[in-house]
Amino acid sequence: MKKKITVGRVILFSMIIFLSFCFLLPLIWMIRSAFMDASQIFIVPPVWLPNPIKPENFSKAIRTVPFDKYFLNTLLIVVFNVTGTVLTSSICAYSFARLRFPGRKLFFGLLMSGMMLPYTVTLIPTFLLWRSLVGANSYLPLIIPAWFGGGAFNIFLQRQFMMTIPFTLDEAALIDGASYPRIMASVIMPLSRSSAIVVGLFQFMAVWNDYLGPLIYVNKESRFTLALGLQQFIGYYTAQWELLMAAATLILIPPILIFLMGQKYFIQGIVLSGLKE
């Protein structure tokens, strides 16, 4: 069925194009400035395209602040955090979705109500607990909690998905003599791969973008994450916008790549999270 082109549709389409441009403008401007010569950046009215193009800004940014080191630090936290989140949220979600045990409703309800809690109300005792256990500058506070179910939201998301898998599969496996961990590992987990990917992607973004966590647990420069490094960079080079924009661009590349690769999962995940009642 082909729709005919009407005035209304043309107006709508041009509006969407205009708004898309507005949404992209900050990113376009960032990339434009990242490649620009320091002298050209201050010209009024502004020049849209950098001339000459200066890719040196990127190497200069990395030389002034050790972003390569911060990248590895961030990666270390991301890898261990995301692994723990995906693994334990799958296990816990399997239990809450498919096994009956006394207190299941109560525990799940408590877990869900915890999501409404403002993070500041648990922040300080948690910080004090970690401080007394591992001291400052350890990454453990940023990793270990992920191994305890990976957060209520992720468990919720995986559970929602696992509940849609037919229960006849479990029953068939039980009759064949499979144990519950076996059913989880060989039946449910392979079938809920897509929700595990959604959780992994969300968690990657959350940890990569996290600012408050590293801010309170890490204060030694050599242990900084990218987010802290960029913030430190702002403080040092307020007027060197071309370097700041180059640094911002570098930090943005991994999440954008991951997003574009897993876009379908992202959208599925957000939609799933909005459909709770």
């Binding site: 300080i124 909690p145 957000i270």
Partner: protein, 307 residues
């Protein structure tokens, strides 16, 4: 036919059978995590809020002194930050909700490039908050930033944006609209779930697009609006990163968000007891507001098949 011979015995055996044992075992990480990282700290912060605790010396019980200090205006920043945060929530939540809703309405239509536009509108939401802050500090630069240059070019008055007491909170609220992609996607999913026959019914009655919006779309969308509203309020009250990086609460504490104040008290001044009492006040405020929204929901949220 069910077997009724020994129900009691079966019941006892079933209570902790293999399923239940594995169920509890596999849920244990989440249950322990909740106790260690949520419930425990929740009560600990309540207890700490009744103490004087500065890390260097052990906490000493001071009763409700911390709370009295806050409400009797001895803390010069408490009411200030509460006002700033409320102002921000009142501005940013409606702006972002309306923006997200309008974008979703536009994208609802089947058109060429729909997936591409959806990606573009969502893209800003995955930009790390520190990077967003950096980019906007550049765009909002009063002298050479792009925004003022554009305003100048079209002959409009320029603004000091985040560098003036008057405009800093509205600017941050407006900035927040850049990251409405997630909310938009939730709205979009809701819109796509509205059955077409409702719109056809309006057509038959001779209604136009405006009637469709007010008699079908909005009533059908109230559960989604409700969900986004609650999440928007909760998140709005906890805004931290942008203000901390871009203004550090300034100029002259004009963007001293509540969470920035808590951060300052706890991690700059090391007054942990005080910070905990601030956090509990925020907790209570959020609970009260959420329950208010929940209560009002019965009069404006329409759930299909429910009366």
């Amino acid at each position: 036919m069910k077997n009724h011979t020994a129900p009691a015995k079966i019941h006892i055996r079933r209570r902790w059978n293999a399923e239940a044992r594995y169920g509890l075992l596999l849920a244990l990480p989440a249950i322990l995590g909740f106790l260690i990282f949520t419930l425990g700290p929740l009560f600990a912060s309540l207890i700490l809020s009744f103490t004087d605790y500065t890390v260097s010396k052990a906490p000493s019980f001071v009763g409700v002194k911390n709370y009295v200090r806050l409400f009797s205006n001895q803390d010069p920043f408490f009411y200030k930050s509460l006002g700033v945060t409320l102002y921000y929530v009142v501005l940013s939540v409606p702006v972002s909700m309306v923006a997200a809703f309008l974008l979703a309405l536009m994208l609802k239509h089947n058109m060429k490039g729909k997936a591409l536009f959806r990606t573009i509108f969502y893209l800003p939401s995955i930009v790390p908050a520190v990077a967003t802050a950096t980019i906007f500090m550049w765009l909002l630069n009063p002298d050479i930033g792009l925004f003022n240059q554009i305003l100048k070019a079209v002959g409009l008055p320029t603004s000091q944006w985040i560098y003036s007491e008057k405009t800093v909170v509205p600017t941050l609220a407006f900035m927040n609209a850049w990251t409405v992609g997630g909310t938009m996607l939730i709205f979009l999913a809701g819109l796509e779930g509205i059955p077409n026959q409702y719109y056809e019914a309006v057509d038959i009655d001779g209604g136009n697009a405006w009637n469709k919006l007010w008699t079908v779309t909005i009533p059908m969308m109230t559960p989604t609006i409700f969900f986004n509203l609650v999440m928007g309020i909760i998140n709005g009250f906890q805004t931290f990163t942008q203000a901390q990086i871009m203004t550090e609460g300034g100029p002259n504490n004009a963007s001293l968000f509540y969470t920035v104040l808590i951060y300052r008290e706890a991690f700059k001044s090391f007054r942990m007891g005080n910070a905990c009492s601030l956090a509990w006040v925020l907790f209570v405020i959020i609970m009260l507001l959420s329950s208010l929204v929940f209560r009002s929901s019965s009069s404006w949220v329409y759930y299909e098949g429910r009366r």
